[in-house]
Symmetry: none
């Protein structure tokens, strides 16, 4: 899974995309021995988020199980979410005279677990409050109890220089949840300024984490385990970014917690990632390997960097072609065109390579070449089913 | 409908599939004058059964109407099933000291109607028991009454040398049905050994049909008639296999009961089948023609046989090209690759030929050539709608 792989024509590449312009002998050989096509991760014209995209790719219908980003963020930072919990993303922020002056409290890094400990383990009107810090100013909140609803707005104004927004219910059933969250914010706006670490930050001229902003409320879905849906005994995730590990964890996959040099960024150690994935294949029926960098470079608009990063991946994975009796699929979760610097609805190239497959005539892995491939256009929820079917893991529907 | 038509590359054919390797001037001419594509009968990556595939091809959503094979088997052998009946497949079997020693009672052929008569027309706890014998050791059972559920397991261990399995409910609502079926099995295990024919078989050293195995419970669905869904007045099925006739009957089609030399196998009389279908066109708006052989050869892994059988069909149907004012569609219900010897999820080639159609550049009917055809990739439930629409039989949706 090459995050953000798809792109649009780049003038400087003579109208080719970064992937089309890249020198990718590994991917091209796999395309030659395999079947190729384009994948609309959600459906044509829908711009996927990273969360909805990965849900679809694992075989879940995001329209049924996705209510907000919160649950995936919570899972990503290792909060032990239960099905039915309401989860929100959180930012430690700085408030001054009621105005949010820094949405990230100076991208605070130090001692955020102390802030988290202050928030965690409260109870408000019978609702259990669970909190964990993530990287820098990020954290996630879980509300656990009866009669909760994800249909609430957060208090994050998304811009600085504004008042926090009022936490409100979008439907009457959300009123109790909104009330609990309002009470929590009230409590924290009194408790946070008193923390030692905030006194110290003030003394050092750093913005204190004296407020907390919430957004992205969602209900933690009940997901049938990936293994159960797809007829495999074991499935493992190899990823750098906590967010992707979190989705894999929600899908019931095993997650390899940390790999030397693997960062979830463009400076990641690709060969460590490859070695980890290859050894995971020894005792797993399915290995999900996520590489993030191309997406970051798309968001930065850095088409030369994206092309080079794709070439680095292709090079690091040159012995993919030597794997035997393994169905290999390479794709992205969505396009992140350098000209848009964000996700787009353009479909992502996909290849599936396996012995005896109905290979097509496509010999270059790229957006336009694969559009004539034998897979045609698929949607994200098809992919794992196709892979499992080629691997002989699927049961007949009917008789 | 060329059952099991699709396949995978065969080394001995230089990487071509049996259909690609076959000399098929009739199909190729129809492809030239028509529009072609690939069909995922259920959806990409799903391996269709014969039952679910034909439901989809007739325009029914198998995910909504299919609960098990029983109803289709029952319809196939001519049991007059009512919507709501619970139907199961049955095998006459041989039991010895509680162990199933032959799941097919020596593929018994003779006097099975006597066994069926013994089973048929009982009543257990208010539930009517209907039974009919099929070919050889096969039969079908209907349970008709109130409060019945298809959510039960059968007693067929699927292997010899084992005890019959316990008939159990998969959900609490199935308990009554499971109980009725357990009582029936108990009654039959006493009644069957006493039958004259079984005494005779024992005397002749043949395995007696002294036990009965059930599997594939399903509820007989309510299907809107094919004619009503598709806006035609008359539809007729020409098929050899009882199973396919049964599905057509459930879809409310007329069924031509027997055709000289038509066997439902590779030795079938193709020209008799063609003549029957062509004359059926005189007084029917729609004719469904099913040819089974290619599927059998796929199951046998006989790629040379499959190629030759396809050539025989192409030859027998050479005057298809002369039909005027008839929309012709040729496809399969699923792929049965010779390398897999079973159904696979690989899509099946499809062509639709009609005067004035938006013909594409495909000039050979085969898996890879049609993957670049103008129909693109369709799903099974699209096919009859497309055909009826080309035939001017569809109504506008909207105004």
């Amino acid at each position: 899974m090459l995050d953000g792989l798809g792109d649009l024509p780049v003038d400087e590449f003579g109208g080719k995309t970064p992937l089309e312009a890249a020198d990718t002998p590994t991917f091209d050989n796999l395309a030659k021995s395999g079947i190729t096509g384009l994948m609309h991760t959600i459906s044509p014209g829908i711009i996927p988020g990273s969360d909805t995209a990965h849900l679809a790719l694992f075989g879940y219908d995001p329209r049924k199980v996705y209510t907000g980003r919160g649950p995936f963020e919570a899972a990503g930072i290792g909060l032990n979410a239960h099905s039915g919990d309401i989860a929100l993303r959180a930012n430690f922020a700085t408030i001054n005279n009621g105005i949010i002056v820094d949405r990230r409290a100076g991208r605070i890094r130090e001692r955020t677990h102390e802030i988290a400990a202050l928030i965690n383990d409260r109870e408000i009107e019978g609702v259990k409050i669970l909190f964990k810090e993530g990287t820098e100013h990020r954290g996630a909140l879980l509300l656990r109890g009866e009669d909760l609803s994800p249909e609430i707005s957060g208090n994050d104004p998304r811009k600085e220089g504004l008042l926090p927004e009022k936490i409100d219910a979008a439907i009457p059933e959300g009123e109790f949840t909104a009330q609990v969250l309002r009470k929590l914010v009230n409590q924290l706006s009194k408790d946070l300024p008193r923390l030692d670490i905030n006194q110290e930050r003030k003394a050092m001229g750093l913005p204190p984490a004296n407020y907390i902003l919430f957004r992205g409320a969602g209900v933690v879905p009940t997901l049938l385990p990936f293994t159960q849906i797809h007829g495999v005994d074991t499935a493992t995730c190899v990823a750098g970014g906590g967010f992707y590990k979190g989705i894999a964890r929600l899908a019931g996959m095993k997650v390899i917690e940390s790999i030397t040099g693997v960062t979830g960024g463009t400076n990641t150690n690709l060969s460590a990632k490859k070695d980890t994935a290859f050894s995971a294949l020894d005792d797993n029926d399915f290995v999900f390997l996520h590489i993030k960098g191309a997406d970051n470079l798309g968001h930065d608009g850095d088409f030369i960097g994206k092309k080079k990063f794709i070439e680095r991946i292709d090079d690091a994975f040159s012995d993919l072609i030597e794997l035997e009796n393994i169905v290999i699929s390479i794709t992205g979760d969505h396009s992140t065109p350098c000209s848009i610097k964000d996700h787009s609805s353009d479909p992502t190239p996909v290849l599936i390579s396996f012995n005896g497959i109905r290979c097509d005539e496509v010999s270059k892995f790229g957006e336009r070449p694969v559009s004539r491939g034998g897979l045609g256009h698929i949607i994200g929820t098809d992919l794992s089913r196709l892979v499992m079917s080629f691997a002989g893991r699927s049961k007949k529907f009917g008789a």
